[in-house]
């Protein structure tokens, strides 16, 4: 048979015709496009029954009520809980992103011990006995006071347990990260003689003067303030914002008073002066409740006449008087202080100057006014038992002890002690109240040749990121021989730890929650676990209880509960049953039984605002942080969704952008988008320039919440040597899982980590002589083109 070209032609044509007339090409065309519609690497979430689980968000002290939407029991979305007293359905962007914290790539999957450059997986028991062993060793040597703990706050039962642990061991070294709430508490103690927290009834006030607060930028209880701000707009209640930069709050305000930075207190006293001289203050209240009012009146009239104040602040005297008149005439005027989000303590005397305005109107403990909320001890702890060595060690003062000196005018120099928080995990009843500061702690460690702290426990805080002069804090942490982190994430501090005992994230655990953040409400709530723990983590309460048990002796005897939930039930008393059922208990605010007194002598003791670090010659500009709600700047880093909302004028690629006025830019010789170097006495950083008309010339503003490190350096060795992965808690409920990024074998969060500059590496702490706490709100700086 001869096969020629015709045969081939026939073969080809025949095949083509045969295929064309069969369904194959047509079906394949259709199917290949359907394949592209269902790519196996694009996930397909499984449908099912929808349920809602209500709980309380604990990402920030705002504590909003949230509803977690679930499909087949799998949490898919977080929404604000309608009708909840704090937020009534509203929710902030971090709260919505809550589920991203569950699966954060930097989450620590299991307990780990640092071994040179690597991390080794250990069991919970191994980890606990390792830490307990160290503590026992120190205790045996009589060095129990060298055990310290830094916690995010001292509110609630979990913080109580950690404090109780430190106390049981025999140490006073329990520290919390100080916020404006602490300063307000100290102020109330000094001015009104009350053991109470401050609260502001912003939703009902008809005239608010805010001294640099980020009223709608995360200050106080963020969502509650958003609601208050909108209700304010509806009620045509006025907001006056005193700030050197057109922040979102300033933009939302009716009157923006751009006072020079650092002169806010003077402006407040200027308004006081205007009110007193025009006889616009609540004379009846000042006379009946006030002590030393006359001295204060004389003081402000002499030193803070509006004309004088106008010169220092740069705010027109007529404007000062006008605001004073409006403020005085308002039905429920309110003055608030606490810069930015109020995440640092701030200056006590500055707060005092602002609070003088509230005291002049007498709008205290009334609707729409300033409230003193007595601190309730709703938890009943069994008293702490200490053995001899613990008692001995406990007598030693804390490493970070500070004294606060207030020159209270006529009455001369005096020392007053601040309150050790009422929600103590079992302080001894010696009544000794010692003030300490976490910034001071690290300062002392750094200054000492050998660290006075031998063992540091870090719970619910990230001091290596959030404290001013973070680099120095890191040095101090490195100096401490043994550091135990309870962080769920490989954050800036956990990276420096020797042992990590990873705890649950907020959605995975139950805890008691108390209204705070200066909200004029009384709410106690139970935040419930709404998600199965994703990794081999423990409830922080259980973690410390098991550590106490491993420590044995008197320490263990103070922790007789089997689990945290048993502990919570027993110490909460009657509230527990109600909370388990209702979720929260809200009660009306009630004024204190005793009539309010005001000691005006403190206000008259105002001298100067906290001056900034650095000399004006080498550092001609002022560097201040910008607080924005879109970036978390406290213990937790922002979740990917929140980072996505950050404008390209704040963060671009991996660079922080700083705001400066075009006028300043001209002088310095930089332009929009340029690279520049900021230098302060603390450090320097490369940034990019963003020109903004709304900022006062002479100021550089830098966003907070950036500059997190990426995560763990060094390899992680699992027990069985298998690559680190594995979600232990939940079963996979997604049919197709292809689009997952490769596990790096490292605990890195590249969505926020490694981006931008940490403000705290440019700004150092400044001790407020009045409170002993850190009152830094900026630093002197210079900037030059890079």
């Amino acid at each position: 048979m001869k096969i020629d070209r015709r045969s081939f032609l026939g073969l080809g044509l025949g095949a083509a015709a045969g295929v064309t007339l069969s369904p194959m090409p047509w079906k394949l065309t259709d199917d290949s496009s359907i394949w592209s519609q269902n790519w196996p690497w694009t996930p397909v979430p499984i449908d099912g029954e929808v349920t809602f689980d209500d709980t309380v968000c604990t990402l920030c002290p705002g504590n909003c009520g949230i509803s977690v939407k679930k499909v087949n029991g799998r949490a898919i979305k977080i929404e604000g809980k309608k009708g909840y007293p704090v937020n009534d359905g509203g929710i902030c962007l971090h709260g919505i992103s809550g589920l991203q914290y569950l699966y954060d790539p930097s989450r620590v999957r299991f307990p780990m011990v640092k071994n040179g450059d690597t991390w080794k997986q250990v069991s919970w028991d191994e980890a606990a006995s390792l830490v307990a062993g160290k503590i026992k060793e120190l205790k045996d040597k009589g060095m129990a006071d060298s055990v310290a703990c830094v916690a995010g706050s001292d509110k609630g039962s979990i913080a109580g347990l950690y404090k109780r642990f430190i106390t049981s061991v025999g140490s006073q070294n329990f520290y919390t990260v100080d916020t404006m709430e602490k300063t307000w508490e100290m102020l109330i103690e000094r001015v009104h003689g009350l053991n109470a927290s401050a609260a502001f009834d912003l939703a009902k006030s008809d005239y608010i003067i805010s001294f640099g607060t980020g009223f709608i930028e995360g200050w106080g209880s963020p969502v509650n303030n958003f609601l208050a701000n909108s209700s304010r707009k509806e009620r045509h209640a006025k907001l006056v914002q005193v700030e050197y930069r057109l922040s979102n709050t300033a933009a939302s305000a009716d009157i923006w008073l751009p006072a020079k930075p650092g002169t806010e207190a003077s402006l407040a006293l200027g308004i006081c002066s205007a009110m007193i001289s025009a006889n616009l203050y609540n004379a009846a209240f000042a006379q009946s409740a006030g002590k030393d009012f006359e001295a204060f009146a004389k003081f402000v009239n002499e030193k803070y006449d509006p004309e004088l104040v106008s010169r220092t602040t740069g705010v027109d005297a007529a404007k000062i008087k006008a605001v004073a008149a409006e403020f005085a005439k308002a039905k429920s005027p309110l003055a608030i202080a606490g810069r930015g989000k109020g995440e640092s303590a701030g200056s006590l005397m500055e707060f005092a100057a602002v609070h003088a305005l509230n005291c002049l109107t007498g709008n205290i403990n009334k609707e729409g006014g300033f409230w003193t909320i007595e601190q309730q001890d709703s938890l009943t702890w069994p008293s702490v038992v200490m053995d001899d060595s613990a008692t001995k060690s406990y007598a030693k003062p804390p490493v970070g002890a500070v004294t606060s000196v207030i020159d209270s005018g006529a009455s001369g120099a005096g020392i007053f002690s601040a309150v050790v928080s009422a929600v103590s995990g079992g302080a001894t009843d010696s009544g000794q109240k010692v003030l300490s500061s976490v910034s001071k702690l690290f300062e002392v460690i750094n200054a000492s040749e050998k660290s006075p702290v031998e063992l540091l426990m870090v719970y619910n805080s990230n001091p290596c990121f959030t404290l001013r002069n973070a680099k120095v804090v890191k040095d101090a942490v490195n100096k401490i021989p043994f550091v135990v982190s309870f962080s769920p994430y490989m954050d800036d501090t956990a990276q420096l730890a020797d042992v990590i005992l990873p705890t649950h994230t907020s959605l995975e655990m139950t805890q008691d929650v108390y209204s705070g953040a200066c909200i004029a409400q009384n709410v106690i709530a139970l935040s419930k676990s709404v998600a199965v723990p994703v990794y081999d983590t423990k409830h922080p309460g259980d973690a410390i209880i098991s550590l106490a048990k491993a420590t044995e002796g008197s320490v263990a005897s103070n922790f007789t509960w089997k689990t945290y939930s048993e502990c919570l039930e027993s110490i909460m008393g009657d509230n527990f049953a109600t909370l388990s059922e209702e979720g929260y208990i809200a009660s009306e605010l009630a004024p204190p039984v005793t009539p309010l007194s005001v000691d005006f002598s403190l206000f008259a003791a105002f001298k100067d605002s906290i001056s900034l670090e650095g000399d004006a010659k080498s550092y001609p500009l002022t560097l201040v942080p910008i607080d924005t709600i879109r970036l978390a700047s406290s213990t937790l880093a922002s979740p990917p969704f929140a980072v996505k909302t950050v404008e390209d004028t704040v963060l671009f690629e991996k660079d922080t952008l700083v705001e400066i006025n075009p006028e300043t830019a001209d002088k310095v010789g930089v332009d929009d988008g340029d690279y520049a170097v900021i230098t302060t006495s603390v450090g320097e950083a490369k940034v990019r320039i963003h020109l903004f008309d709304g900022i006062m010339p002479g100021i550089i503003a830098i966003p907070e919440g950036l500059g997190h490190s990426t995560g763990a350096k060094g390899e992680i060795i699992t027990k069985d040597g298998s690559p680190m992965a594995g979600i232990t808690g939940a079963t996979s409920i997604i049919t197709q899982t292809g689009g997952v990024s490769k596990n790096r074998g490292q605990l890195e969060n590249l969505y926020i980590g490694g981006k931008g500059v940490n403000v705290n590496e440019l700004i150092g702490p400044v001790m407020d002589p009045a409170s002993g706490l850190d009152a830094a709100w900026g630093i002197r700086a210079r900037i030059s083109r890079a």
């Binding site: 065309t29 290949s32 496009s33 394949w35 592209s36 519609q37």
Partner: protein
């Protein structure tokens, strides 16, 4: 070596020289193919396009090659429908260029879409209101027509022609070519127009939007007209290029001058229409939407009013004058300047109607969006050029593209 395939009596460079040349261009082609593969496998993240620049370099290249490939339909129209017979001496080249341009355009479109496997949805699930649907239908139909027009030329290859069947087929196809040319001209008119319509209908984009007739904006007609006007310029540029490279005369001057003259008059009429359109747009259309002309040409680092000047004066009026005035047209150098400017002008017009449209901010608080293509985009844009060079070289070497070549050679 390959002499058996080369048209009888035609002088071609030695095969190794040819092969080397093809290999060099082939390397560029492979680079383009590699980039194309990246785009298909990894997706369009390989480009520098973004959500503001959904249409970019490729779409410009697409529009530009179709515009300059317009010589095929217009020359075809003139020859077969209007019976201008001299043009038979250049029609083959016009068809080859057309074929290259249109196949390139289709290839570019296939790379440009995010889901190539679903590309056929444009036919199957067509939305008749979309200009792009019109483009897709006319483009692919006209490409089929061009293929049919190209086939007889291939069949004229010395060896193929020896087969009686092919010989007869070729002969018969020539006979009916007028019908195809007419169909092609009609289809081409439409899709050239609909490509113009693509930008013109965007009433959310004041820079591009034009009023018009029925469903077709003025840009529809301007695009058709400009393709007809400038397409022959490109045919002539390629002719001149060939003549330069081969150092041979391939087309007689009278043919060149005729096509140049027709092109000149077409450009003249086009540019008048374009100027009227521009003035109306500046004076009525854009102001109605709240824009002054200079809003479109200021506050950015690239798009200045120069681009409008370059398009209308350099790319329009200048070639129009040169090509319409006999004295200038017959000056070889001026002619070359004119046809090059013409090609530049029409390409610039397409650039403006794609890239500047995307760049101009519309919301008062939006900013200009400028973009630089990635290497993958550049490579895939060069890919059709390399492909075109190879195909046209092969055609020139093995097919009787220039019917007058022999005659001109002999007279020399």
């Amino acid at each position: 070596m390959d002499s058996a395939l080369i048209p009888k009596g035609a002088k071609r460079c030695p095969f190794p020289v040819f092969a080397t040349g093809i290999a060099v261009v082939g390397a560029v082609l492979l680079w383009g193919v590699y980039a194309m593969g990246l785009c298909w496998l990894k997706g369009l993240n390989q480009t520098n396009m973004n959500d503001y620049y959904g249409f970019a370099l490729w779409i410009w290249a697409d529009l530009a090659v179709i515009a300059i490939g317009g010589g095929a339909f217009f020359t075809g129209l003139l020859k077969y429908v209007f019976g201008i017979d001299e043009l038979k001496n250049i029609i083959n080249l016009a068809v080859v260029i057309g074929f290259i341009c249109y196949s390139s355009a289709l290839l570019i479109l296939a790379i440009d879409i995010g889901q190539p496997l679903r590309g056929w949805f444009i036919f199957w699930h067509a939305n008749v209101h979309s200009m792009l649907t019109e483009v897709a239908f006319c483009l692919s139909l006209y490409f089929s027509v061009l293929t049919i027009e190209f086939v007889p030329l291939i069949l004229e290859n010395r060896q193929i022609d020896k087969v009686p069947f092919f010989h007869n087929l070729s002969h018969n196809m020539h006979g009916v070519m007028a019908i195809f040319a007419a169909t092609g001209a009609f289809l081409s008119c439409f899709h050239q127009g609909s490509l113009g319509g693509v930008a013109g209908v965007l009433y959310g984009r004041p820079f591009a939007y034009r009023e018009g007739l029925l469903v077709w904006p003025w840009t529809f007609f301007l695009f058709t007209w400009s393709a007809a006007a400038y397409g022959p310029c490109f045919t002539l540029v390629v002719t001149k290029l060939f003549e330069g490279i081969t150092r041979k005369k391939l087309v007689k001057d009278n043919v060149v001058n005729l096509l140049a003259k027709i092109s000149g008059w077409m450009i003249t009429t086009y540019i008048i229409a374009k100027i009227i359109d521009t003035i109306y747009w500046m004076g009525v259309t854009a102001p109605d939407m709240g824009f002054s002309v200079m809003d479109f040409y200021s506050n950015n680092s690239f798009y200045g009013i120069w681009i409008l000047f370059a398009e209308i004066v350099l790319g329009g009026i200048v070639p129009a004058v040169i090509l319409t005035v006999k004295k200038y047209r017959e000056n070889k150098k001026l002619l070359l300047v004119a046809i090059i400017l013409g090609v530049f002008g029409v390409c610039l017009n397409r650039w403006v109607m794609v890239l500047q449209v995307m760049a101009v901010p519309v919301m008062s608080f939006d900013t200009w969006a400028l973009y630089l293509p990635s290497w993958q985009e550049v490579a895939t844009t060069i890919l059709p050029v390399a492909y075109g060079i190879i195909l046209i070289s092969l055609a020139y070497r093995y097919l009787p593209v220039f019917p007058q070549e022999q005659e001109l050679y002999d007279t020399k």
